[in-house]
Assembly symmetry: C2
Homo-oligomer: 250 residues x 2
């Protein structure tokens, strides 16, 4: 059996915590990591405060195999992620020559300025993560991968990172939707979960047009076991008088 | 000057970390709390694992004035939030008589069962939070407010909680959108931020139809200071050759 490889996402940005901006990178990251056998195990949303960033990075990089961050690597005064991560690793910021070259090629001589060149400053020893959208790179240092917060740029950076990661067992999932509410199948489901201890069975209620229904999601790296549990769950739903309805897929 | 009152949100649920379900409660909570003078300072998304819930609850309730949780209070085996929070507080779970009575009134005699009655189990000493949507209550113990994960139910519970909270200074915000990209105004913005140290000025780039623009958000409890900073920022944008365009409001 393969190792479990874990990851944590740290979302850095006052705009998420103020409610101004809806967080949109977590689910994309989780799905992409799962494809290469990495399980997202925690996410934290923290403000643009240096001490908080340093403490969170250092707690999470010790606890998880991979740490991903989004936000705070632009040209303005509130973009403090790179400097904070340098401090978390006890290294200085330096202007990366390749990043500076790329930015000078991207902007005209009239448009390049110190604020934009700040986006070439990365912790000493960091490796650049290319940005196919707007040039200013992310970076990787140790097990920490630092990406932009704008979803389109984050996704482009993640596409560049994914092939470099070492995953473990890939989670396979099956989704079963029934017209029964959770409360009708809870006892039967507990009994099945107790026998399939290595499958994570999640139960998610839905309300649509005043009607309750439930989607069950089975997750484990073992396709055969998932299928065996699916057969038992479908039989249990039938025994409770329910139907298995078309499923949107997990 | 009023105190700053802080809060943390703990989102409990494997379905968020797997990427299956998009988190939708954070921004709603942040905006509602801000209306009553409470600043959301951190959010954590954690799995349905008892030890993780206990450790996270205990770390956060010591650190923030208020802690809010969403998820894991339904009838199925994966709904372990109430039991974990009882353990975090070192108390037992008990079947709350008012909650049991409400559930027995809501379900017919044929439909009530042990799984549904489990939703009446709360930590000893907890106060119920009413659920106007589907009866099964949330609860409050100490400074921890435990709500459902389904957004419609979470919002109903939050509406019941909000009048009970003691807030501090309310953050007032102003939003300014310019047609200039961040890199053109970064230096001027830093200079203004350095003089308005008690205003949190955030700078958020946008891409629309291939064009970069920037929204600046000024946040502080002081309306007059916000307006003074707004005037300076608008003058700075004009001096950089930019326009202040219609703003969607912060």
């Amino acid at each position: 059996m393969q190792n479990t490889v874990t990851a944590c996402l740290i979302v850095i940005g006052n705009e998420i915590l103020s409610g101004r901006t809806q967080e949109k990178n977590l689910s994309h990251l989780a799905l992409k990591l799962n494809e290469v056998g990495i399980q997202l195990r925690e996410a934290r949303v923290i403000p643009d405060i240096e001490a908080t960033i340093i403490a969170t990075i250092n707690a999470c990089r010790a606890k998880f195999d991979y740490v991903f961050t989004t936000g705070g690597i632009g040209p303005t005064h509130d973009d403090i992620t790179s400097a904070a991560i340098a401090r978390a690793f006890g290294v200085t910021l330096h202007r990366h020559p390749d990043a500076e070259k790329a930015l000078r090629a991207h902007y005209s001589a009239a448009d390049i300025n110190e604020a934009r060149l700040k986006m070439a400053d990365v912790p000493f020893g960091a490796t650049l993560i290319p940005n196919a959208v707007s040039t200013a790179p992310g970076f990787c240092i140790g097990n920490v991968y630092v990406m932009a917060g704008v979803p389109r740029i984050m996704q482009a950076m993640l596409d560049a990172i994914i092939p470099l990661l070492n995953g473990g067992a890939t989670m396979l999932s099956i989704s079963i939707t029934t017209n029964l509410p959770e409360g009708k199948i809870a006892a039967g489901l507990t009994e099945i979960q107790n026998r399939y201890t290595d499958i994570d069975i999640g139960s998610y209620p839905m309300y649509e047009r005043g009607t309750l229904s439930t989607t069950l999601v089975l997750r484990s790296p073992n396709a055969a076991k998932n299928e065996a549990a699916r057969a038992e769950i479908e039989a249990m739903i039938a025994a409770c008088g329910g139907l298995v309805v078309a499923s949107p897929g997990a």
